[in-house]
């Protein structure tokens, strides 16, 4: 159920209650008293005021409301409802850590159990943001350590987390259960060791695409002895060796372990041992998928038998240094797989074929473009249940060979009609293929096409890619996320503005001709929340055209465009609730780097608590 659906109508429970007990009718007081008598929630002898009774009842009802959009709507009804909602909210999602201060969070919500916190904008992943920009977890862990002793879950994305932060977390929350760090950095194996050791109820420790420094600490050995409540352990991004015997011991004493994602320092022999110990696994990250030693003949472990024994595996990933001769060992689980991630493995179509042929139930498939159009055709032929496809470039350069193209894209669109989400890197594309996808896959909510050659037109017709993307926004009526590329004129953006009514996230690079393009989008897309643009000819006029929107958006990023300081200042002055940051590409300048009028990067976001106090010197807040 999308956020839009759930916010469009209140939860049925609440509506039903309101019908039965309208707040203003006189009859409600007697029924309210009767109810209160039953529940025994009032202490004084005089009948309690309806408001308090209502709050108590509302509390009971709101416990069933989990969607944050519903909860946000509830909190806007009146002060009383705001209070009750705040008391009963256990999970909070903060899409931009700078949109409010930790103090505001702890002031409003008193009983949080779970926090999701996101920091840097996505373009930071591609070296477009200088280091030490911010998004530190420290102030949040300090504030929540005091306010929420019963915190159980922390999920961070693109935050800067230190070992000290992790230590404080481990010390402050006795019931802590789940730690997930996605695209984070700033910590090392010593921080992980403290968490492993002190969080005795830890069920989930997931490190995903994070940079983890090797402090040469044997963190796996730091898990306490005895039966472990671990259900999920992911460390495939940790680029340092681990103590395998300790890992094996941990797996043996983790009867609830369902998800295990090992890193590339776990060999095939070791993986085999783990699988034998944990046949109940549902999700397995296979590590290197490469044997330590050259095969010794008779001593070869039966890898296929191990996979056969793990009947519950539905999700496979890893294959970080895989050896093709062992790939077929995964065959016994192919028919059950719903998710397969080959995106770190240089797999040819020839290698893919015997595997994918059996993967009828796959819903999520990630791979490198080494599988070529041929491989995509094989996927299209078999994977009728495919919902999400991601094709990454094996050779991520502008002028590399380009083994996948519109041929593969079109094949997928024809074979996988239920497709909802696609990320596709290629060297060249045609409008025809993109249009075909728009027509064949009406369920698409995410369409991200990256034509790696900048400004590349349709390689067959020589025309811009406007029509293809236009077809996508026009035909895919559920589209919420779009990333465009190739040669695009303002016309493409007029289509986006005209048809992209549900788009929440838009990524633009090296596209458009003029400010008109930016205006089309800012005026036409009412649901737009996240706008990230680089290297496009958009200037102050375009920026100004979105003034009416910025308070309702999570952020706007514009880098290497043609903005001037004056134009950015205008926005900052007109919108006091929006923080406007400008900075250059290099974080090495110690003093104010805004020399001259040119703005390298603009990052603006709404904030309830004004400009942040931790901005580094190279960031200027206008």
């Amino acid at each position: 159920m999308t956020e839009e659906d759930s916010s469009a109508k209140m939860s049925e429970d609440v509506e039903r209650y309101l019908k039965l007990n309208p707040p203003c009718s006189s009859s409600s007081s007697s029924s309210a008293v009767a109810f209160a008598n039953k529940s025994g929630t009032f202490k004084s002898s005089s009948p309690p005021c309806p408001e308090h009774v209502l709050e108590n009842v509302l509390e009971s009802v709101l416990q069933f409301l989990t969607s944050r959009c519903d909860r946000n709507a509830v909190s806007l009804v009146c002060k009383s409802w705001y209070r009750v909602e705040a008391q009963t909210r256990f999970e909070v999602f903060i899409g931009n850590c700078y949109s409010l201060s930790p103090a505001r969070l702890t002031h409003r919500f008193k009983g949080l159990r779970s926090i999701v916190l996101k920091g840097k904008p996505r373009f930071a992943d591609f070296n477009l943001m200088p280091p030490n920009w911010g998004a530190q977890f420290a102030p949040w862990v300090v504030a929540t350590a005091k306010a929420y002793p019963w915190l159980e879950k922390v999920h961070l994305k693109r935050m800067f987390v230190t070992d000290d932060d992790l230590a404080l977390l481990a010390d402050s929350f006795p019931g802590f259960k789940e730690l997930t760090l996605v695209c984070c950095e700033g910590f090392g194996t010593s921080g992980i060791a403290v968490v492993a050791n002190k969080c005795r109820q830890l069920k989930v420790l997931d490190l995903v695409e994070s940079e983890v420094t090797d402090d040469e600490v044997d963190w796996i050995s730091c898990f306490p002895e005895g039966e472990s409540p671990l259900e999920s352990l992911s460390f495939d991004c940790v680029e340092s060796p681990i103590n395998f015997n300790a890992l094996e011991g941990l797996v043996v004493r983790s009867p609830f372990l369902k998800k295990l994602r090992t890193n590339r320092f776990v060999s095939l022999e070791e993986l085999h041992r783990l699988m034998v110990r944990a046949p109940q696994l549902t999700s397995l990250g296979t590590g290197s998928f490469s044997p330590d030693n050259a095969p010794q003949g008779e001593q070869l472990p039966d890898y296929a038998a191990a996979f056969l024994a793990c009947k519950s595996i539905v999700c496979l990933s890893g294959f970080r240094e895989f050896r093709p001769e062992y790939l077929l060992a995964i065959s016994p689980v192919c028919a059950n797989l719903t998710s397969l991630n080959f995106s770190y493995a240089n797999i040819s179509p020839h290698m893919l074929n015997p595997i994918i042929r059996n993967c009828h139930n796959i819903r999520v498939f990630w791979a490198l473009d080494s599988i070529r159009d041929e491989g995509l055709q094989a996927v299209a032929a078999t994977c009728k249940e495919l919902r999400e496809l991601r094709i990454f470039p094996f050779d991520p350069r502008e002028d590399s060979e380009g083994p996948v193209s519109g041929v593969g894209l079109q094949a997928i669109s024809e074979g996988c009609r239920k497709l909802e989400s696609i990320l596709y890197f290629c060297q060249r594309m045609t409008n025809e293929a993109v249009t075909a996808m728009s027509e064949n896959c009406p369920q698409l909510t995410v369409f991200r096409l990256c034509i790696m050659g900048r400004h590349r037109p349709d390689h067959v017709t020589g025309k811009p890619m406007d029509d293809g993307f236009g077809a996508i926004v026009k035909n895919c009526k559920k589209l919420t996320r779009l990333a465009v590329s190739g040669l695009l004129t303002d016309e493409a953006f007029s289509y986006i503005g005209e048809y992209g009514k549900l788009i929440r996230t838009l990524s633009v690079a090296f596209a458009g001709n003029s400010d008109k393009a930016l205006r089309y989008v800012l005026e036409g897309c009412p649901k737009l929340q996240k706008l990230e643009i680089r290297d496009s000819p958009f200037g102050d006029a375009g920026l100004r055209s979105g003034m009416h929107r910025y308070c309702n958006m999570r952020f706007v990023w514009l880098s290497s465009c043609v903005l001037s300081l004056g134009g950015c200042r205008d926005v900052a002055q007109a919108l006091p609730n929006v923080v406007v940051e400008v900075f250059g590409s290099d974080g090495d300048d110690d003093d104010d780097t805004v020399t001259g009028d040119y703005v390298e990067t603009l990052y603006l976001y709404r904030s309830l608590d004004g400009p942040r106090k931790d901005a580094p010197k190279f960031v200027t807040i206008l």
Partner: protein, 261 residues
């Protein structure tokens, strides 16, 4: 030593870019079929207009991983000296002062600090190769494309893992180079065997003190810092991540190993 000598003059691509970039009309007037990076301004050459021409950033940033590996190298007592890219970048090559043609960001006339930066992983700029002294004359490649920061938008963790590890292998006396993927070998014996098969020679066994004695062929490699090393001295993992190219020298040409080393 035979081999193709490729020297593509530096001049023409730069002039071409200068010619195009001086045109301040809207971007759509550029020929979309031309593959060169059209929207980079050559700041020392031109008066940049402030309208409608984004300044594409071509700074390359040293990632944390790069920083770490440099630190690790020095910690392990690696006595190789880092070649300072600054020193190389502005040599004169082909009578052209390369500073004039350096692509940089920002408005003209702004004095840029020269930063020490390396593009992460396989996407190394061709420029550096030109500036260094190349022993092997087959190796001159023109700077056709400078790498743009953060493009294509692939996270560095993905780039590192899937980087192409093909290295060129030359052998003295052989008419053409070969290419091998270092990742397909797990250790030195496998690699040496493959080389022996490929070139139909006997290289023999590595010996710590004396290298490859008696075989007549000595496998050497150029590492990240541009130094030529003997294959087999360092652990395999270190070798495979730092080896940029291989050269099998004929025994008579290979300089004798100094016993003091």
């Amino acid at each position: 030593m035979g081999g193709l000598k490729l020297r593509v003059p530096l001049l023409s691509p730069c002039l071409f870019l200068a010619f195009h970039a001086s045109d301040n009309t809207s971007l759509s007037s550029f020929n979309p079929n031309f593959d060169a990076p059209l929207y980079i301004s050559l700041s020392p050459f031109l008066q940049n207009s402030s309208t409608n021409s984004p300044r594409t950033r071509i700074r390359r940033r040293r990632t944390r991983q790069e920083e770490q590996s440099t630190q690790e190298n020095t910690q392990e007592g690696n006595t190789k000296i880092d070649i300072d890219p600054k020193a190389m970048a502005y040599e004169k090559v082909n009578e052209l002062n390369l500073k004039d043609t350096e692509l940089c960001l920002g408005l003209p006339g702004r004095t840029e600090k020269i930063k020490e930066e390396q593009e992460v992983s396989c996407v190394k700029s061709n420029n550096k190769r030109l500036f260094e002294e190349t022993r092997d004359e087959e190796e001159s490649t023109p700077p056709t494309k400078t790498q743009i920061v953060g493009w294509p938008p692939v996270r560095s963790s993905r780039k590192n893992n899937t980087s192409v590890s093909y290295v060129k292998v030359s052998m003295d006396g052989a008419p053409y180079l070969r290419k091998i993927d270092l990742k397909t070998y797990k250790n030195y014996p496998e690699l040496l065997k493959a080389l022996e098969n490929m070139f139909k020679v006997m290289i023999g066994e590595y010996c710590e003190r004396e290298g490859y004695k008696g075989s007549g062929f000595v496998p050497t490699y150029e590492d990240k810092d541009g130094d030529w090393m003997l294959v087999g001295d360092v652990p395999w993992d270190m070798f495979s991540s730092s080896c940029k190219r291989l050269r099998i020298m004929k025994g008579s040409d290979a300089p004798a190993l100094d016993s003091s080393l």
